[in-house]
């Protein structure tokens, strides 16, 4: 099972000091968190993609390429890559390039984006969101698997004799997750391709997450990719920890009460009861996270949102130390002990290369024989 962090990349004032980081500070902080993630033994760093203030990460592969050069093991991913408003040709190129530079340590998560004006800013119509996700991904899927593509669709200018370069590393495209909170159509899309399904449950009650994941698992089996239990599921989660849970609550409360995404709504107590937000001791975080499998089944990827609500970098780095040292080692052991045989790990580059060789579908170019 993979454990990692995902960042929205919001520039949010620290409510306890009133200080707002600069864009440069926030971008560098995201990089620092990625490096820390590798240092403390996490598996994945994922960045969001946004095209409006107060968010900084508009150019994910630039950031991930920089992180790739400074890490050895960390898988670089996105949360999410906008399949609606980005040109699928550019996604194919950018992420194949990143794959080569990062020696295969790359996957990505498709998302539609829910910021209305971004669609017209990029020449699209939000009412076509699902259709854009369907058509653009179908093209992206082909660009990574067919050397020469002739294509014509509804939303993009046609392609004749187009080859997306560089070709995917070892002829194996990056693994793709499809992220959706509310849309059964996207769970269906992930199932159709046998791709991963990520439910970002951080603002949602468990029963909703359960239904979306069950739908994906049922359709994954329907399309013959395996049993429902073998479908590839990822979940979010967000935490704030201190050794004593009372200290965690006391320290986090002013952040919760003022954060744009949490504040001025339900109390911290109600919110933690109704969503995955956990504010407490490392042991409480362990117990809460282990409980996710009770409604989502045994799953493959757990991403934590740690740099939320305007917390300063120093605090978030401390949080990552606790996550890496006290929480994730226990979670790895406990999840493994509970997981039945036959539930696969999340695909990574090496396993995808091996699978491609097994089925004899690998391209000849660049396949290393072991």
């Amino acid at each position: 099972m993979q454990f990692g962090i995902f960042s929205v990349g919001d520039v949010t004032p620290d409510p306890t000091t009133g200080r707002t980081p600069t864009e440069r500070e926030r971008i560098k902080a995201m990089v620092a968190l990625a490096l820390k993630a590798e240092e403390v033994g996490l598996d994945v760093f994922a960045t969001g993609e946004h095209h409006n203030p107060p968010f900084v990460p508009s150019s994910p592969t630039t950031m991930l390429g920089y992180i790739a050069a400074r890490t050895e093991r960390l898988i670089l991913s996105t949360s999410t890559t906008l399949i609606t408003t980005n040109d699928p040709v550019k996604i194919a190129e950018d992420f194949a390039m990143l794959q080569h530079l990062a020696d295969g340590r790359v996957d990505l998560m498709m998302g539609r984006g829910n910021t209305g004006p971004v669609y017209p800013w990029f020449g699209q119509d939000i009412r076509q969101g699902i259709n854009l996700a369907v058509e653009n991904y179908a093209l992206l899927h082909r660009l990574w698997r067919e050397d020469v593509v002739d294509w014509e669709g509804t939303f993009r200018t046609p392609l004749q004799g187009f080859t997306s370069t560089p070709r995917p590393l070892d002829g194996v495209p990056p693994f793709v997750w499809h992220g959706s909170i509310r849309s059964p159509e996207i769970a269906e899309q992930a199932a159709y391709y046998g791709d991963g399904f990520f439910h970002n449950n951080i603002f949602w009650p468990a029963d909703h997450t359960k239904r979306m994941v069950e739908l994906y698992r049922a359709r994954y089996a329907h399309y013959g990719h395996g049993t429902p239990e073998q479908a590839i599921v990822g979940l979010g989660g967000q935490v704030f920890m201190r050794k004593n849970s009372q200290d965690a609550v006391r320290e986090f409360r002013p952040y919760f009460d003022n954060a744009p995404v949490y504040g001025h709504g339900p109390s911290l107590e109600d919110f933690t009861e109704q969503t995955p937000l956990t504010v407490g001791s490392p042991q409480q975080v362990i117990e809460r996270t282990l409980s996710f499998r009770e409604y989502a089944g045994d799953y493959q990827r757990q991403l934590f949102l740690m740099d939320h609500a305007g917390l300063p970098l120093k605090t978030v780095l401390e949080q990552l130390d606790m996550l890496g040292e006290e929480v994730v080692p226990v979670l790895r052991k406990e999840f493994a002990a509970r997981r039945p045989a036959g539930v696969p790990d999340a695909p990574e580059h090496a396993s995808l290369v091996a699978a491609a060789k097994d089925t004899g579908r690998e391209r000849t170019e660049g396949v290393s024989t072991v």
Binding site: N131, G153, E188
Partner: protein, 249 residues
């Protein structure tokens, strides 16, 4: 649910009518109007004439109780009706939180489910600033799109004087028309003075008769339980290949 009402509903599915009341005071005249309308609907559905006693045994969804049934009629056209009450006053905070968070708290989720699954609705609001109250509108703002499509609805409102009565026709009826509900022709307005005057009881009976006429009749349907805020049910999914093919030129 009382023992008696369980027996009354035995072997025959009771129709579910949900009363949504936006009255704010306790007791409230808006709720009083809603209760009178509900009792009349139960009577009319049971096939009793006007003027029967109020035998309705209500429960409050917002307090998590089971629904109760009444009106066990004996005529050929008689129907058992179970009335559930949604008091928006008790949901005011969860409704506001739904706006800021994007998902309903437990009590609001139960109320939304009850309304979505209802065979018919009775909705009543006080008149505020020339329209329904903000709380009333907010409840329907957080409902899933299409949740009320095809649902028979009886609309009612209360106010200090009869000057506000056209709020029913100029605000309430368009709202439910937009939601594609089936609004019965008679809307019932009760000004303070109506509680001591002739006419209100007759309007209540007429409106209740119209709603009872639509209950479980041709075209009526018991909606499938709302699966989720996303409505994610496997049988509803359009197979991916169909969706993709629709985009091919």
């Amino acid at each position: 649910m009382s023992e008696e009402s369980v027996r009354a509903g035995e072997g025959r599915d009771a129709l579910r009518v949900v009363l949504v009341s936006a009255g704010l005071s306790v007791p409230s005249s808006t709720r009083l109007l809603g209760d009178r309308l509900a009792a009349a609907v139960v009577r009319r559905a049971a096939g009793d004439g006007a003027g029967g006693t109020d035998v309705i045994d209500r429960t409050d969804v917002t307090q998590g109780a089971d629904g109760a049934a009444s009106g066990s009629g004996s005529g050929a056209g008689s129907r058992n009706v179970e009335v559930q009450v949604v008091e928006l006053r008790e949901l005011a905070v969860e409704i506001a939180h739904h706006f800021t968070n994007g998902f309903p708290g437990p009590s609001l989720a139960a109320a939304l489910r009850a309304v979505t699954e209802a065979d018919a609705l009775i909705v009543v609001t006080p008149v505020f600033s020339a329209s329904y109250s903000g709380l009333f509108k907010s409840f329907f703002d957080v409902m899933e799109k299409d949740a009320l499509a095809g649902t028979p609805v009886l609309i009612g409102a209360t106010g200090g004087s009869a000057r506000h009565s056209l709020v029913l026709e100029h605000a309430m009826r368009p709202l439910f028309a937009y939601l594609r509900a089936v609004v019965v022709p008679t809307a019932v307005y009760a000004a303070s003075e109506d509680w001591g005057a002739d006419g209100l009881a007759e309007r209540i009976e007429r409106a209740a008769g119209e709603l009872a006429g639509l209950l479980g009749g041709a075209g009526a349907r018991r909606r499938a339980p709302a699966a989720s805020p996303a409505g994610a049910a496997v049988e509803d999914v359009v197979p991916f290949a169909e969706r993709l093919a629709a985009l091919r030129r």
